[in-house]
Amino acid sequence: MDFNLIVDNLLFPPVLFFFLGMIASFCKSDLKIPDPLPKLFSLYLLLAIGFHGGVELRKTGINQEVVLAMSMAVVMSLVVPVYTFFILKMKLAVYNAAAIAATYGSVSAVTFITAVTFLQNMGLEPGGYMVAGLAIMESPAIVVGILLARIFASDNNKKEKGSAENEEHAFSWSAVFHEALLNGSVLLISGSLIIGLVTGEDGWDILKPFTKDIFKGMLSFFLLDMGLLAAKKIGDLKSVGFFLPPFAILVPVVNACMGIVLARFIGLKPENALMFSVLCASASYIAVPAAMRLSLPDANPSLYVPMALAITFPFNITIGIPLYYYLISQANVFIPVLWK
């Protein structure tokens, strides 16, 4: 495998700022980006990536490739939480297994963005519809996770508890769907995508200096904060046991491989295949905790948040992205295209 890819990716300034953040946190420096400034960067990134995707999607239109890829995205976001749930249930309580399964079925916008800039550094531009994939894959895994928890939890403690309180604050599927589909990040990215779609090149000319030119700077700042945060969360990992840290690396790689094979079947170009596999490999630390809090309040956030944030995320943005890109080049040699 071409290690230059990894090195090149590591020498990308935003990724280096991630490490700077981690180092600062490990040295117990008082460097910090106070609230709510990190929110500014995260809102900016969602708006910019959504808008950019919409403009690109306008160029290509909604063709067969787009429909196929989006269908596969939905498939993956249904399959991943199911298979991981059954693995996790062997070691963990049903609630925690479901929450972690939802985490790995859903996606991470910042990982996605890092992959886009990785491609751009090589002169490639992924299809704009991939941003739609990002928006589409955020929610289904959450609903699946909650469904699994309900099915398997009810087997166990149907009789025991849940009577008195449930009457007062009954579980509400409408609240779950609301949280899953209308949470701020899904809405901002989808809305920006539609605005990009509607305004096209004209809109792009208007917003380009804001959404494109300063993008990598804003990403650097945000990754600096992610580094500070991820390093802090590593401390929380002590209590998660021996089983979960390897899980947090292996499952993303497995998911990426499934994504790579599917992407090859439907004949995606390498840059789009990378984006698709990164969506499969990434784990959510935004939408999922928000939804779990309401639906599975007993699930422990200090299990699934540090796994996604302190292991899977750093792994993906450093080694994962170039690794998946290498695997795609191999897949294109050995696996046949089925559609197209």
Binding site: D35, E165, H169, L229, P289, A290, R293, P297, P301, V305
Partner: protein, 99 residues
């Protein structure tokens, strides 16, 4: 110089809206809210960061008659029992109020 009750509630920020609705329903005349409260309780440490600001709490203060205090406590009990937090009560003297 009126002796009144002081109700202090600490609860997940996301539940503040429901608590306020209940306070309005039982008919309190006023309340104050301080957001961005970090802390630790039965559910472990709860602090905010860019992704998990949903894990912060709010502090709600209600100064009211003793009778109203009992109504408030009963109204919010189910929320605290479900979503966590605490509710403490003490006696204070209301010295100035705009009325």
């Amino acid at each position: 110089m009126k002796p009144v009750s002081k109700v202090e509630i600490i609860i997940d920020s996301l539940e503040v809206e429901s608590v306020v609705k209940l306070l309005d329903e039982v008919g309190v005349s006023g309340y104050s809210i301080i957001n961005n409260v970090n802390g630790k309780g039965s559910r472990g440490v709860r602090t905010g960061d860019v992704f998990t600001d949903l894990f912060q709490s709010s502090y709600i203060l209600v100064v009211c008659e003793e009778k109203m205090m009992h109504k408030i406590v009963e109204a919010i009990r189910p929320i605290i029992k479900k979503f966590g937090g605490i509710c403490i009560v003490s006696d204070v003297i209301m010295r100035i109020h705009r009325k």
